[in-house]
Amino acid sequence: MNRNTKVTFICGALVVALMAGSMVCRSHAEKIQGDQATLQEVLYLPSGKTVKRLSLGYSSLLADIYWTRAVQYFGSRHIRSAEHYELLDPLLQITTDLDPQLIVAYENGSIFLSQQIPEGAGQPDKAVALIEKGIRANPLYWRLYFNLGFIHYMDRHDYKAAQQAFEKGSEVPGALAWMKVMAARMAEKGNDPSTATYLWKTIFDTTTDNNIKDSAAKHLLSLRADSDMDQLEQLTRAYYERMHTYPETWLDLVRAGLLRGIPTDPTGAPYKLRLDGTVQVEDSKQFPFLERHKK
């Protein structure tokens, strides 16, 4: 079958080559199309209820599809440190209309929304609205109250609202005890680093999203560094009071008996001592969330 083998070869080669070529073109087309068609339509959809009706009973699958789109949308922009995330909220609203029990959409979605640009969409009010919607649909899922409190505390700095959120959450049967503890802390402490640390640690431990986990880790590092640098600046002030001049290097402080060794930040790099006694981190890119010791 000589002719047959020749044909098989030619066709086989054609199939492989053309498919490869088509894949290249496709990725170009997709890059151009990007967020366009499939996502922009979200802005024009009449309402979640209509979409649900149109989905012919496959709303759960459609919710998953929209949730995936939301994650991709956020992730691809996040990498580029984008400034605008306009489609995020509509995508999340459609997702939760299609499947009001898709908890992960509320939990992770609200964090995507609430964080400041460029880490998130910078829309904490929309985030609150989303969580409240989730709570209405899932009243027994007390962890949503945690998210609510977190947003009020972290991004809106509304400590009263945060306290109320934790309070309500603690009342849901099955809620863990620390919810009540958090409510109390909100009431007393206001803007407190240890509270913030605790909240971020909880997020870090419980989240399923890599973006959020990454973000939480960064927040924790910055909180730690801020706290370290607070203490280090206390030491430089103590040195000043004793020597009437600021230390030039860390060794000065060591010789003065105020330090035991060169202090390093959580990434292992030494802190920088400035001549006016203030302390800074070596690489500020590792610590994007510093509150008090910014460069």
Binding site: S22, C25, A37, T38, R69
Partner: protein
Amino acid sequence: MTSRLSAITWNTFREAVRDRVLYNLVLFVLLLVASAPLFSQISIGLEKLMLVNVGLTSISLFGVIIAIFLGIGMVSKEIEKKTLYTILSRPVRRWEFIAGKYLGLLLTLVVNAALMTVGFYAALLIFVHSLGRADALLLVAVYFIVLQFMMMVALTLLFSTFSSPIFSAIFAFALFVIGTFGEDLKNFAAMSQGATKWLATGAAYVLPNFASLNVIGQVAHEQGVSAHLVFFNTVYALLYSVAITAAAVLIFERRNLK
């Protein structure tokens, strides 16, 4: 070779037309005409938008359905009816047969879509009373729909070369649905890990992607379509269709036809 190819193409087209496939146009027109008054009832100010959406989506869906219905029997019917025996006893190469069938079916769909587009513009005229430059954009959407047909015909033909009509129909329809969510399949793949990720990504690329060919939403809102997109989509659809047709030829050339 060209005379044989064109003979088969024309014959395929003629058979489809005489099989009253174009009657679906009547259904299309009825659909448009009947739904028009509905639109103004549903939402004021959005009539044109809905008309465009319904019209273009119908052109796309009707075409795909015809592509599947006619395509699944392309090869299997000829084998069953033994018409293929008399064809192959002539100097017709097997690949010419497949190519001719493909072109004939594609021609049928293009003619069908063209006629529908005319009817669609007529409906638009009646509604809006005047057509602006933005309405030329609709032709881009129709062009992309034709690109979609190119790919669907190739796929249905592929199945027809080795599988029975019923299974071919199921596979083809499934691929159409999957293709519509092509982007999402890629997203799913991106979210998985390890071996699954490679497999899923590979599958996502081999399977057709109709999502970037769908600009109905855009043109409905009178947004432009970039020339780059037109270029890449055209080349994509072309390469993909030829690849799949080559696969169909491959199978058909080696097959013992009962």
